[in-house]
């Protein structure tokens, strides 16, 4: 179906190759996940498979890529499109026409299908993706999740044998992201469509995968089924391990699970799940879960709810904040929220729940139509796309030296901001909004800062945010990634339909949910409020010890 034979590729103007001597083959009907850290060459694999490399991007290309019998050196992306549908990260640039129906018809028209075949192809793609009700909608009115589904339907119209996807869930909330992955699995199982999926959040897609290709600095490091990949990752590339795999590995349990179901099966086999009736996991709070200055447990944090109950002054206070669109719906509905100095709060919720709107109100970019927002000083806001803050030709011109040094970018002064990695750009943009003031801002707000970041970059970001909180700023982060929320936050606010519907300690909110829960919490069923693999492993070890104690 797809074969890479000793492929080496260097982008035009790049100093080092993006792919180095890569060889692998994908069989018909396989579901293959492509993994790797940022800059490892994952996206280039997709671009090479769909023919954009080298035909569109130029550069130096060596080796051979064949897709369904078409050699990409001789056949361009247009011809390969007849056998392989492609979907990239940003749904906004994936849709080129005004209505959903026209968008789905466009690739079929380009292939010269007749009117009846086009109508059928459009209808079938819409039904397969569950977007038949959107066919006559304007693409400009669709949400991010809807737009991504439409783009996927456009890629699938005409039933290509292969679909190539480059981080299609990066801009989706956990619900929409999971739905998209399971939709791909259904297409794979029911239509026999071969799926090649590039994804950072492996815990989301490994249960659906037949094979994993892991890349490291352009080289293929691992080509194996998910379980063997996890064993390789544990030894060679720990940042690629899934939370469930880390949980079991740290608890000394084998084999590494590819998903929640397998992890729970392993725990059951060891008598560590309550439904086996041996001796359930302890549900007592974890050691160290007391909130303290840097903790994220229960108890005293409850004082933060309801606003104004604490004697501590608020760093940021939302008091009955409404945001109502003229002639439209209300984006915020009477939000009451208080953040104390040094507090680290994660704001979670579906796309369109009002998270970004709330952050804009915090920074004064929007004014409430009712209610008030008060801050004890300056509010720094980092919006979703860090590139929007990078306006100059040199890193050194973007932010003062002290701010760059605090972001760990003091050695990159002469580099072009666009040449930085995703994580570095995020840190530089944060330096731009923080500035070099001696006194920290009263509050620092970030909107989806983890998009496209690998685990190492997320850990760096979490450490930086903890540092800001330690310096006295309240930190409020809107985030779709529960794993990041668990690492960074001590309190989580779940927003739905423009108002908070849950507000509590990280353990309380993220351990008890399903979509808005970490994988560790899902494996352990929320026991003990454990959210991260190390906490979960600690809980498992204590339970095992307790079982062995007479």
């Amino acid at each position: 179906m797809i074969s890479f034979d000793r492929v080496t590729y260097t982008y035009a103007g790049a100093s080092s190759p993006a792919l180095v001597d890569v060889s692998f083959a994908v069989e018909p009907g396989e579901f293959v996940v492509v993994a790797g850290l940022s800059g490892s060459g994952k996206s280039t694999v997709v671009r090479a498979a769909c023919g954009l490399v080298p035909h569109f991007h130029g550069g130096e290309f060596g080796g051979r890529v064949v897709v369904e019998g078409l050699d990409t050196r001789e056949h361009g992306p247009g011809e390969i499109a007849a056998v392989a549908g492609t979907l990239a990260q940003d749904p906004e640039t994936q849709v080129v026409l005004g209505t959903v129906r026209a968008e789905l018809a466009f690739p079929l028209e380009n292939r010269g299908h007749g009117a009846a075949a086009i109508a059928r192809g459009v209808e079938e793609a819409a039904l397969a993706l569950g977007i038949a009700h959107l066919l006559d909608r304007q693409t400009s009115t669709l949400s991010g999740g809807e737009l991504q589904r439409v783009a996927l339907a456009g890629a699938l119209a005409g039933r290509p044998q292969v679909v190539l996807l480059d981080e299609p869930t990066s801009q989706l909330d956990p619900v929409a992201g999971d739905e998209l992955v399971w939709l791909l699995r259904r297409l794979n199982e029911e239509w026999g469509t071969t799926v090649v999926l590039v994804e950072h959040r492996l815990e989301r897609c490994l249960p659906a995968a037949d094979r994993v290709l892991a890349f490291d600095r352009g080289r293929l490091g691992c080509d194996a089924p998910p379980r063997a990949f996890l064993e390789w990752a544990a030894a060679e590339a720990p940042p690629l391990e899934t939370p469930a795999a880390r949980l079991l590995a740290r608890a000394g349990l084998r084999p590494p699970p590819t998903g929640v179901k397998e992890a729970r099966a392993t725990l059951r086999a060891h008598g560590l799940l309550p439904d086996e009736g041996v001796r359930p996991l302890e549900s007592t709070p974890l050691k160290g879960s007391d909130p303290g200055p840097g903790g994220r447990g229960r108890g005293p944090l409850r004082r933060l709810l309801g606003g104004g109950r604490s004697a501590e002054p608020a760093a940021l206070r939302f008091d009955g904040v409404w945001h109502e669109l003229k002639g439209g719906r209300a984006l915020l509905r009477g939000v009451d929220l208080v953040l104390r100095p040094g507090e680290r709060v994660a704001l979670v919720g579906r796309n369109g729940a009002g998270k970004s709107t709330l952050l804009r109100h915090a920074a004064g970019l929007l004014q409430p139509t009712r209610g008030t927002v008060e801050a004890a000083g300056r509010v720094a806001l980092l919006l979703q796309n860090p590139n929007d803050y990078l306006l100059h030709e040199r890193v050194g011109d973007e932010a003062p030296a002290a701010a760059r040094a605090a972001a760990g970018l003091d050695v990159a002064e002469d580099r072009h901001p666009r040449d930085l990695s995703g994580g570095e750009r995020e840190r530089l943009a944060l330096a731009v909004v923080l500035g070099a003031d001696a006194s920290p801002p009263a509050a620092v707000c970030l909107d989806e800062p983890t998009r496209g970041l690998d685990r190492a970059a997320k850990d760096e970001l979490a450490a930086r945010l903890r540092g800001l909180a330690d310096a006295g700023s309240a930190v409020l982060v809107a985030v779709h990634d529960p794993e990041f929320a668990a690492v960074f936050a001590e309190r989580v606010v779940l927003l739905a339909d423009g108002r908070p519907i849950a507000d509590g300690s990280t353990s309380d909110v993220l351990a008890g949910g399903w979509y808005f829960a970490t994988e560790t919490a899902r494996v352990l069923g929320g026991a003990g409020g454990a959210l991260l693999p190390d906490e979960g492993a600690d809980l498992l070890l204590r339970t095992t010890t307790a079982q062995m104690t007479p």
């Binding site: 990239a88 906004e92 005004g98 028209e109 980092l382 919006l383 796309n385 306006l391």
Partner: protein, 287 residues
């Protein structure tokens, strides 16, 4: 500037019919200088915008277009040396030299501004109420690449608008607040290139370059197609008939001749009536 399907007779008609209506009104405006006729066409266009439920959007365009129309109206008497009826002697005014304002030049400028306004607003109605995808289908038979380029350019407008808004927001969030508007403009321009590249890549992987040029079946003909086609034809017929019959003739120079009789008034009323009749039939207009 985004087309959005709404519950109106104009949106219910196919692009060929609703587009023809807009072009007919713009064409009629270009054919006449008579202010009564131009005024009637302006009423027809604004009435049509209201009937198509895009009145608010078109009024916003009107706010932008009005200063341009006034500029045209006022600049003409300053640069025109024609006309016999001097209404003001301004003497030596650099860079225009000896300046006499004539009634004829003023009237000609005013009608030209009015004409500009009608044409701009007719195309504004087309932008908001004529499906651009159907327009693309109409023109792709003639010149596929040009039509696609035009359609994509139109699509990039809202995308770049949202990019510019995001960058402006980011600029407000900078701690130093020092980023110049030029830096933002440069970033938007660079972003536009990135966007164009992304869209071009999408076109490639959707098979645009393969050369197949079939078309999906369009919407079935509806009663509204007939109404708007008939209305457009009637507007053209009225314009041709009036021109042939010498009705609503207008001459600015050397002296102003602008008859306003029963024929001109009937013609103006006829333009309004035939242009707005299609909006009365509101059956089957839901999207």
């Amino acid at each position: 500037m985004i087309y959005e399907r709404r519950a109106s007779p104009m949106h219910a008609a196919r692009a060929a019919a609703s587009g023809a209506w807009c072009v007919a009104l713009a064409g009629a405006a270009l054919a006449f200088h008579h202010p009564v006729v131009l005024g009637a066409l302006l009423v027809a266009v604004l009435g049509g915008a209201a009937g198509a439920r895009v009145g608010g959007e078109v009024v916003r365009i009107l706010r932008f277009a009005l200063p341009f129309a006034l500029f045209v109206a006022l600049i003409n008497p300053l640069i025109s040396r024609n006309g016999l009826t001097v209404i003001a002697r301004l003497g030596e005014v650099p860079p225009f030299g000896e300046l006499d304002i004539t009634l004829e030049a003023l009237a000609y400028g005013a009608t030209f501004g009015l004409r500009l306004l009608v044409v701009v607003l007719a195309f504004a109605v087309a932008t908001y109420a004529v499906d651009p995808d159907e327009v693309l289908r109409l023109f792709r038979r003639v010149s596929f690449r040009s039509a696609l380029t035009a359609a994509l350019a139109v699509r990039l407008v809202p995308v770049l608008h949202s990019d510019a808004r995001r960058l402006a927001e980011a600029r407000r969030c900078r701690a130093d607040g020092e980023a110049s508007r030029m830096a933002v403009l440069r970033a938007v321009t660079a972003g536009a290139l990135d966007r164009a590249t992304d869209v071009a890549a999408t076109l490639e992987v959707r098979g645009y370059a393969t050369g197949g040029r079939s078309q999906a079946a369009g919407r079935p003909r509806s009663r509204h197609d007939r109404w708007f086609m008939a209305s457009a034809a009637a507007v053209v017929a009225l314009a041709v008939g009036a021109k042939a019959g010498g009705i609503a003739a207008f001459q600015a120079f050397p002296s102003l001749e602008m008859p306003v009789g029963a024929a001109e008034l009937v013609l103006a009323a006829a333009f309004v009536v035939v242009a707005l009749l299609p909006f009365l039939d509101r059956r089957g207009i839901a999207p």
